[in-house]
């Protein structure tokens, strides 16, 4: 069978035709779901904005269930399928293994998402994405999730299969590229995630149709989170890979050291998934040793890995910029970076937002005892919007600004809007999250329709500061949604209305040239730090981390003694 390939003249990327269509379909489907989830996010945040309080309680919980599932599962995982196919087939210049299975995976994911979506729309499944038993949802709510997961699992195997094909057919020299390695990390975590999901969701489905009489709710929580939290770790591995990719695309940056970056991904593979314990820290019964070992990813070794990536990604950019002559002072390399290019600005905001807002707060609230003063408050969504929205979603958006024109052979639609989009979305989300964290520190609950508790037998009033923070959450949430809408407009506009790029890029059956090894790095002649600016930023990061960490211990030490 002869396979069709084309080489993109502008980017030099080699696309296998079958993989290209799959990447396009998965990415576009993802963006459509992002748009839907964004509308739901708007409704959610306008309800949590006390002065607006838009929806009724029932509708709020229904919409919030939809927002969580569509954003966290559907948008992100569809896009990740596109990333997996891109990082295997396209980067390795290899035919995609079994495209038919990949399509089957796509159809299962779409069908599954639709079935769960219908269950939520019907109203009997407003159980939040976590669907904690024994609160029941309709059987097809779980069934849709199971089908979706099976589809994603097929995608993972197609990725692994493509790695095997590439190796056997020798489409590349040496080891796989770092970005592909990062995608492999994501794929491995995804396989564990989906297996855990199967262990818990299949019995829960059987329970919902009456074949099983009881699901232990604590067991459910522990295993559900092996899926729920690990799926966030897929995102981390995927968006870190995207950072490396964008540093290479925009700056031609090379990893500072293959060994260090890959070693850091290895730490992810070994330890990242243990952090599912973050959700079980104030659960009854599960022992302290288990909690401490797992919540700390075995002594924070996966945090170490993230701190390494956080240094090596901007560090590699700094090195590349200095080689181009931006050598003045500590930060000329950063000042002269292409801030008007949304591919770069999106990636950089993603990096900083993920590190400073998402990362620090995640480690702090994942500290066993500190979780006592944070669990289930609105601090929690305040923490994970910076990880999953700033970190993952914004990194994927940045990649789209590069990839969509290349894939669809069209110029970006409204490039002026694209230029502002990353700032609008990044800034709105960052501030929304900060105010959610502030309100959470004051005790405001997550997944809660009314912070005034109307109709409760007793009364309790949060202070003015909590109301103000939730109001600001509302305002910046709306800005964030506007930023998200701008992204959807640019991408959909590009696909439908963008100016066609007339380049000579025909499909042919000729086998693409073997992917060569990277050119050797110039010898490091200096004796000092090769990336002093990045190191300084890293020290600022660490200082913020330390201060914030101790602040929370101080706050904890002021509450009632308990054991």
């Amino acid at each position: 069978m002869s396979e069709l390939f084309r080489t993109c003249p502008r980017s030099g990327l080699v696309f296998h035709k079958a993989a290209e269509s799959l990447i396009k379909f998965n990415a576009v489907t993802a963006v459509v779901f992002l748009a839907v989830g964004g509308v739901l996010g708007l409704l959610v945040v306008m309800t949590r904005w006390p002065a607006v309080h838009l929806l009724s309680a029932d509708l709020f919980y229904q919409v919030l269930t939809g927002h969580g599932i569509i954003m966290l599962l559907v948008w992100i995982i569809f896009f990740e399928m596109a990333v997996l196919y891109f990082c295997s087939s396209t980067l390795l210049r290899c035919r995609l293994a079994t495209p038919r299975f990949a399509w089957l995976g796509y159809v299962l994911m779409l069908g599954g998402a639709a079935i769960t979506g219908v269950a939520i729309l019907q109203g009997g499944s407003s159980v939040m994405m976590t669907s904690y038993v024994p609160m029941p949802a309709a059987p097809h709510f779980y069934l849709g999730l199971i089908l979706f997961a099976v589809g994603a699992l097929i995608g993972c195997f197609v990725f692994l299969g493509t790695l095997v094909v590439a190796k056997n057919e020798r489409t590349y020299e040496g080891s796989i590229p770092l970005v592909t390695f990062g995608a492999l990390t994501a794929c491995i975590i995804a396989i564990f995630t989906i297996a855990s999901g199967a262990i818990i969701l299949i019995p829960t489905f059987l329970w919902s149709v009456g074949y099983i009489s009881n699901i232990d709710p604590l067991m459910y929580r522990v295993i559900w989170w092996a899926m729920g939290h690990s799926s966030q770790q897929i995102n981390v591995a995927a968006h870190v890979s995207v950072w490396y990719a964008i540093a290479a695309i925009v700056f031609g940056a090379r990893p500072m050291s293959e060994r260090v970056s890959r070693g850091a991904f290895l730490l992810y593979i070994l330890f990242l998934q243990l952090a599912s314990a973050h959700h079980i820290l104030v659960d009854p019964g599960v022992g302290t040793e288990w909690k401490i070992f797992n919540t700390s990813y075995a002594m924070y070794l996966a945090v170490l890995a993230s701190m390494v990536h956080g240094l090596t990604v901007p560090g590699s950019i700094e090195v590349a910029q200095r080689e181009k002559g931006y050598t003045n002072g500590m930060f000329e390399w950063l000042r002269k970076a292409p801030w008007g290019n949304p591919v770069f600005s999106g990636m950089f905001i993603s990096l900083v937002g993920f590190g400073f807002l998402g990362g620090i707060t995640g480690v702090v609230m994942g500290t066993e005892q500190i979780n006592l003063i944070i669990h289930n408050t609105i601090y929690v969504p305040g923490h994970f919007h910076p990880t999953v929205v700033l970190g993952t979603t914004l990194a994927f958006m940045a990649l789209c600004y590069f990839l969509v024109p290349v894939l669809f052979r069209r110029e970006l639609f409204l490039p002026g809007l694209a230029k502002w989009q990353t700032y609008l979305f990044g800034g709105g989300t960052a501030l929304m999250s900060l105010f959610m964290m502030g309100a959470g520190t004051l005790g405001v609950a997550r997944r809660h329709w009314d912070m005034a508790f109307s109709g409760a037998p007793f009364s309790f009033e949060f202070g003015g500061a909590a109301y103000m923070m939730m109001g600001l959450t509302g305002i910046f949430g709306v800005i964030s949604v506007i930023g998200g809408a701008a992204f959807v407009i640019v991408i959909v506009g590009t696909i439908l209305l963008g100016k066609k790029i007339e380049d000579k890029s025909e499909y042919s059956t000729a086998r693409p040239a073997v992917l060569p090894m990277a050119p050797p790095a110039p010898a490091n002649t200096g004796t000092g730090f090769i990336a002093p600016g990045t190191f300084a930023l890293a020290v600022v990061f660490l200082a913020t981390f330390v201060v914030y960490y101790f602040l929370n211990w101080m706050y904890l030490s002021s509450v009632w003694p308990m054991k």
Partner: protein, 181 residues
């Protein structure tokens, strides 16, 4: 574009560490280990911990324990719903139930006395969230969590629910009054 290309040499697994990376890894590792040991340290020297004491139970059994305590120690009733306020002896076992949609019963505790506060759910999962000090715990049906507490400031404390538990989740509220002796 070398993160998108194979490493520039076949053997890269023994490249020496760059100075920036090496320094940063060392600093970060120290911080990571510090944060790790902070948790066991606090279990020994800190005052706010949950050591994991819990028992398996059933809603019926647990509910009976709650009722027994309510019958023995109710000191007054509050609100139009006649919610009992229970004043258990200092140092005793106190049973609190989360259910759709209330925390039952209300409690009156003495300042600086220690109580074994049992918490469980009679139906779905709930979130024990004590305001304004913002202490939170997951409440799971079938499991009885024991938190040994020593309220050290008097005043009126409110328990809200911060695990979603259905339409009237936001009305789920209870009270703990801490009084001077």
């Amino acid at each position: 574009m070398s993160a998108l290309l194979p490493p520039s040499e076949r053997i890269w697994g023994n490249h020496p560490l760059d100075k920036v990376e090496g320094t940063w890894i060392a600093i970060a590792l120290v911080w990571c280990l510090f944060m790790f040991f902070m948790m066991p340290y606090w279990h020994v020297f800190g005052k706010q911990n949950y050591a994991g004491e819990a028992y398996r139970t059933t809603p019926a059994v647990y509910s009976a324990k709650v009722e027994k305590m309510v019958e023995a120690h109710t000191v007054r009733k509050e609100t139009a719903l006649d919610i009992p306020v229970v004043r258990p002896p200092a140092g005793s076992d106190v049973y609190l139930a989360g259910r759709l949609w209330s925390w039952y019963p209300a409690l009156e505790l003495e300042k600086d006395q220690t109580y074994r506060l049992h918490i469980s759910s009679l139906d779905w999962q709930h979130g024990f969230s004590l305001q304004p000090i913002n202490v939170n715990a997951q409440v799971v049906p079938g499991y009885e969590m024991v938190l040994t507490i020593t309220p050290d400031k008097s005043g009126e404390y409110t328990i809200i629910c911060n695990e979603f538990c259905g339409a009237l989740h936001h009305t789920m509220m209870g009270k703990i009054y801490v009084v001077d002796r």
